[in-house]
């Protein structure tokens, strides 16, 4: 197996050298990690930032009047600045730091959801992750908000005609939709979604958990109202997520969780809330995680999204070419605009068996419903295998996957 990259726009070998885990072996074989869409590996810069914080500069933040606390507060708040810059937010106060994108979406369903009136609707799509389905179902069942689902085409793209029709009666208060499918790889037409939604009086929230890994996001250019993502997929640590919201909207929203840090004053009768974004950040924040995420963002910015996108395009093209050439492999999702995620099934073997047999060869792919059961149903599938790519993925690793699949297919005769 050959894991030397044919360099695309970036020097993959140099990048790989920054990920200690990539030199591990698995079951005696060199690790071929093709499960980055579930969670990405962490570069040395992130590992070191967290370690150094714990070794030299750590205390609780925001309320400390001493040196350690002040320095740690600066380091933590620098994460907010880095996120704001990454997304081109108009103001750092528009960045709420959460636990993961799932919490960001739940925060929205509770807080923004409480501003919706019975009779209004939330519109999602047919290719959402459970995290962008279940919170809205719970809102529906709790508050009588209708839940609408925009269908997708056989190619796995959003059906924009249906989208417009579903908005036509003006009842949709919020569109909450993925910016990139974690199963199909489809990148949704965010600008058009915003334009059409706004034209019908609906606000737009994007689940950017996958998209932000592969594309530069400019929330002002998009003019979206909210945008959520999760740190651990962008080479950062677990335990931190992001919710961007336009300031005036965040200000109108009630808090979600109550506790320390999110208050202005507390008495038993009545409490008042801190200014945004702190109103939404109850309790000790993800301090070390913020420091790690800042390091991840700096690291991604140093590589640059142009280089990342170009590299990814070459990976996807190569993967589609190689996998399509294997008899019995069926690729799910053929969107025009797509990111570094390829789902497939094999005629002779169940996806779980495929994953295990690839794992036996050191190749890590995911298999299952990928937290998107309704989408599986749309394609009459129970599960697929999924290979997903990071900046460190090489064309050689995709060749290893293709060769591995060949073996699996032969093995299952």
């Amino acid at each position: 197996m050959n894991v030397i990259a044919k360099p695309a726009a970036l020097d993959v070998a140099a990048i790989r050298a920054q990920f200690p885990i990539l030199s591990q072996t698995v079951r005696g074989k060199p690790l071929v990690f093709l499960d980055s869409a579930a969670s990405a590996q962490k570069p040395r810069a992130v590992i070191d930032a967290m370690r150094i914080a714990m070794e030299t500069q750590y205390a609780n933040v925001h309320r400390g009047l001493h040196w350690m606390s002040e320095r740690t507060t600066e380091a933590y708040e620098a994460a907010r600045d880095a996120v704001a810059a990454l997304m081109n937010a108009g103001d750092r106060s528009e960045i709420v730091l959460t636990r993961n994108v799932t919490e960001s979406l739940n925060l929205m369903a509770h807080s923004y959801g409480s501003l919706l009136k019975p009779g209004q609707a939330v519109l999602i799509s047919g290719m959402e992750h459970h995290s962008n389905i279940v919170p809205w179902q719970m809102l529906r069942d709790r508050a009588g908000i209708e839940l609408r689902v925009c269908p997708i085409t056989d190619a796995g793209e959003l059906d924009m005609d249906a989208f417009e029709t579903l908005l036509a009666d003006g009842k949709v208060g919020l569109v909450s939709i993925t910016h990139m499918s974690n199963v199909l790889g489809t990148v949704t037409p965010a600008e058009r979604i915003v334009q059409v939604a706004h034209a019908h009086g609906a606000k737009v929230l994007f689940d950017g958990a996958q998209a932000v890994v592969h594309r530069a996001i400019d929330v002002q250019a998009l003019d979206c109202d909210f945008y959520a993502w999760t740190g651990h997929k962008l080479y950062g640590p677990t335990g931190i997520g992001v919710l961007y919201g336009k300031r005036d909207l965040l200000e109108r929203m009630p808090p979600f969780l109550g506790g320390g840090d999110m208050i202005s004053s507390v008495s038993y009768e009545r409490s008042t809330w801190a200014a945004v974004p702190h109103k939404f950040e109850a309790g000790t924040p993800p301090i070390l995680e913020g420091i790690g995420l800042k390091a991840a963002i700096d690291w991604v910015q140093a590589i640059g999204y142009d280089a990342i996108a170009a590299h990814e395009r070459s990976l996807v093209d190569h993967a589609l070419a190689r996998l399509s050439a294997i008899e019995g492999v069926h690729i799910v999702g053929r969107a025009q605009d797509r990111g570094g995620v390829v789902s497939f099934s094999l005629d002779r073997a169940h996806a779980h068996d495929v994953a295990t047999l690839l794992d036996r060869q050191g190749i890590a792919v995911r298999a299952g419903h990928h937290c998107a059961e309704p989408l599986m149903g749309r394609f009459n599938l129970d599960s697929t295998a999924r290979a997903s790519f990071g900046v460190y993925t090489t064309l050689g690793e995709i060749d290893a996957l293709a060769d591995g699949l060949d073996r699996v297919r032969t093995f299952f005769k």
Binding site: M1, R27, A349, H350, A351, H352, D353, T356, L357, D359, R360, Q361, A367, G368, H369, E373, M376, D382, S383, D403, R407, V408, T410, F411, F412, K413
Partner: protein, 158 residues
Amino acid sequence: MSDSFDDLRDLYQEVILDHGRHPRHGTRLAAFDATAKGDNPMCGDRVQVWLAYGPGETIAQAGFEARGCAISVASADLMAETVAGRSKTDARALFAAFREMARTGTCPACEASLSEPLDRLAPLSGVHEYPSRVKCATLPWHALIAALDGADKEASSE
């Protein structure tokens, strides 16, 4: 890359491939005394088991329908083959022993009386090296036990 499949065979032995592909008992029983479903929410595997009871406290016949991987289908099939004609008590003891074997690879404390049927299930013991697949192997057994219990709730492999 090696041309032999030795490295793939530690889990997928021939008997598993065979039972996974051509299950002998993979059908709903026309007449049955108990049935239950099993469900692995993490991966979407589902199985339903039907039991026909015989004289005394025995299982005369077992059948199943499964939607899942080779391991779960093979396990269901080997289970159906193994419990047919045994007492309900034996079936429960077998489950405990099998679960131990699936988790650890062996069952040192297993009753000697179970050694013959356990041998039949032994090809599945390789799953212990793949913790996430242990559930695939035990799921049909959970459904079996739920059927024996007459439980009306779904069994889960957790």
